[in-house]
C-alpha cells in the first residue's frame, strides 16, 4: 500500500507541477521566450497569499490577490525585461541571465520580508481520510485534481474555440502573417504572459496551504517547470502537463527505494535521461539542429 500512497501523493504534486509547467509552455509556445522567471511568479503568488491570509483576508480574496500578483509580474517581465532585450539582441542567453537576475531579486526580497524559514497557512486541507484500507487521500488531492481538470479543460476550449485563443496559436506559428491580419502581436504576447503566470497560482496557493513555502521555491519551481517542459516536449501544452505528472510521480516514488533527500534529484535524473536519449520530449516535434 506504501507504493499506492506514494503514487497518489506523486499525482497530487504532479498535477500542480503540470499546471505551472503548462503556464510556462503557453508562454514559450506563443512568444518563443524562455521564461526562466516563471518560478518567481509562483513564489510571489504563494507569499502574497500567505501575507493576505495572515492579515485576516478571506481565502478567495487572498487567492485573488495572489492571481493579481502573478499576472502583474508576468506583464511586468514582458513589458520591461523581455521586450527591451528583444529590441536589441534577443539572444536567448541574454534573456536567460536577465530572467535569472529577476529570480534572484525576488528570492532575496522574500528572504528579507518573510525570513528564510518555511511559511504556511494553517488549513484542514491536509487532513486525510482513508478511501481504501491503508490508502489516505487529503482534501488537497481532490482540489488539485479539480483545479487541474477545470483549468486544462478551459484552456483547451479557449485555445481551440475562441478567436483570441486561435490568434495565440497563430502567434506561435507565424507572427508576420498574424500582423498581416491586423492583430497585435504585442497585445497577444502580453495575454500569453498574463494567462501563463495565472496558471502558476493554483500550485502556489495549494503549496502554501499544504507543504509550505520557502524563498528558494522560486528556483525550485522554475527548475521543475523547465524540466517538465523538456520532458514533455518544449512548447507543447499537453507535453508540459504530462511532463509535470511524470516528474511529480518520479519524485515521490523514488522515496520507496532511496532516502527522501534524493527525491528532488530524481526529477532531474529523468530530465537528464530525456535530454540524452530523447531531447524532443514525449510529444515534441523533431528538433531542428
Amino acid at each position: 500500500m506504501l507504493l499506492a500512497q506514494l503514487l497518489v501523493s506523486g499525482i497530487q504534486t504532479g498535477l500542480l507541477y503540470a499546471l505551472t509547467a503548462a503556464g510556462f509552455a503557453l508562454i514559450f509556445g506563443a512568444t518563443r521566450i524562455f521564461h526562466f522567471a516563471h518560478g518567481a511568479a509562483y513564489a510571489l503568488a504563494g507569499y502574497g497569499f500567505v501575507f493576505a491570509v495572515r492579515a485576516g483576508w478571506s481565502w478567495p480574496l487572498a487567492a485573488l490577490l495572489a492571481t493579481v500578483l502573478a499576472v502583474g509580474f508576468g506583464l511586468f517581465m514582458d513589458a520591461f525585461v523581455y521586450r527591451p532585450i528583444q529590441r536589441h539582441t534577443g539572444s536567448f542567453f541574454t534573456v536567460f541571465v536577465a530572467a535569472f537576475g529577476v529570480v534572484i531579486v525576488v528570492q532575496s526580497g522574500i528572504e528579507i520580508g518573510f525570513g528564510r524559514a518555511f511559511v504556511a497557512v494553517t488549513s484542514s486541507l491536509t487532513r486525510a481520510s482513508a478511501v481504501l484500507p491503508g490508502l489516505y487521500l487529503a482534501r488537497a488531492f481532490w482540489i488539485a485534481l479539480g483545479a487541474a481538470a477545470v483549468l486544462f479543460g478551459a484552456l483547451g476550449l479557449f485555445l481551440a474555440r475562441t478567436r483570441t485563443g486561435i490568434a495565440l496559436r497563430a502567434l506561435a506559428e507565424n507572427p508576420d502573417l498574424l500582423r498581416a491580419y491586423g492583430l497585435s502581436a504585442r497585445r497577444l504576447s502580453a495575454l500569453a504572459f498574463a494567462l501563463g503566470s495565472a496558471l502558476a497560482v493554483p500550485g502556489a496557493v495549494l503549496g502554501a496551504a499544504t507543504t509550505g513555502l520557502s524563498p528558494s521555491v522560486a528556483s525550485h519551481v522554475m527548475l521543475v517547470s523547465l524540466a517538465a517542459s523538456v520532458v514533455g516536449g518544449i512548447g507543447s501544452l499537453r507535453g508540459a502537463a504530462a511532463g509535470g505528472l511524470v516528474l511529480g510521480v518520479a519524485e515521490n516514488l523514488v522515496v520507496s527505494v532511496l532516502d527522501t533527500q534524493w527525491s528532488e534529484a530524481a526529477g532531474f535524473v529523468v530530465l537528464f535521461a530525456f535530454i540524452l536519449f530523447r531531447p524532443r520530449g514525449i510529444f515534441g516535434a523533431a528538433l531542428a539542429r
Partner: protein
Amino acid sequence: MTAYLLNLAQLAAIFGLLAASLNVLVGYGGIFSVAHAVFFGFGAYAGAQIALNVAPDVLLVSAAGGLVAGVLSLALALPALRVRGEYFVVASLGLQMVATTAFTEAEPVTGGLGGLVGIPPPQLLGLSLASPWAFLAVCLAALFGGLAVMRLLMRGSFGRSLMALRDSESAAEAFGKNVALLKTLAVALGCAIAGVAGGLFALQMAFVNVESFTLDQSVLVLAMVIVGGAGTLAGPLVGTLLLLLLPAALSFLPGIPPTEIGAVQQAIYGLAMTLLMIFRPAGLAGRAQGKR
C-alpha cells in the same frame, strides 16, 4: 586587517581563475553551463582528499583537482553534444541539482553536510606555504598561468574554431571542423581549470563542504563572467573583483542589519545582472555591441 585583505586577495585570485575557466565555455564556446560549481567542487573534494591522505602539496593537489574535474566533465560534454541553447541550460541545471544531492549524500568521500575538515596547510615541494603572502603568490601564479594558457589557446586555431562554432555551428561543420571534438575539448579544458581552482580553494579554506558548490555558486560565477563581459580576457576578472568586493563594501554601509547582508547582496547582483542584460548585454569590459 592585513590578514583579511590577504584572504580576500587569495579568494579573488581563485575565483578569477574559476570565472576565466567558465569563460572558455560561455564566452568562447557558446556552451552556457550553469553547473560550473559542480566541477569546482569535484576539484575541491579531490584536492582535499589528496591533501588529507597523501600530501598537501600545491602541485599535487591542483593536478588531482584538474584531472578529476577534467575527466568528469564528460557528464557535461555529453548533453552539450546532444542539445544546444535553452535545452543545454536546462540540462546543466539538472546536472547541478543532481550533483548537489550527490555531494551531500556521498559522505565517505565528501563528508556530507559537515564537509571535510582539517586540511593541512599547503606546501610546495616540501617548502611550507603557511604564510598568507606565499600562498597568495601561488594563487596569483595559478591565475596568470591559467590566463596565459587560455589566451594562447583562444588566440590559436583551437580558439578560432571554437568561436566559429559558437557563432554558427552548421557553418563551422561545413568548413570541416570536428564539432564534437571541439566541444568536448572546450568543456574538458574549462572544467579542468575549474578543478585546479577547486583544489586551491580547498587548501585556502582548509575546509570544504557542499555549501560552496551549489546552484547559487554556479550562478555567482556565471554572473562574474557576464557582468564583466563574456568572451573577453579581462571581463571575468573585472566581474570577479566587483562581485567579491560587493559584500565587503556592503558591510561598511550603515543601515543594513548584518543578518540581511547576504540577501541584500544577492538582490543587488541579481538586479545588476538584469539591468546589464537590458542596457549593456556585452558586459562591462565587452565592446559596446552592434549587430552580431
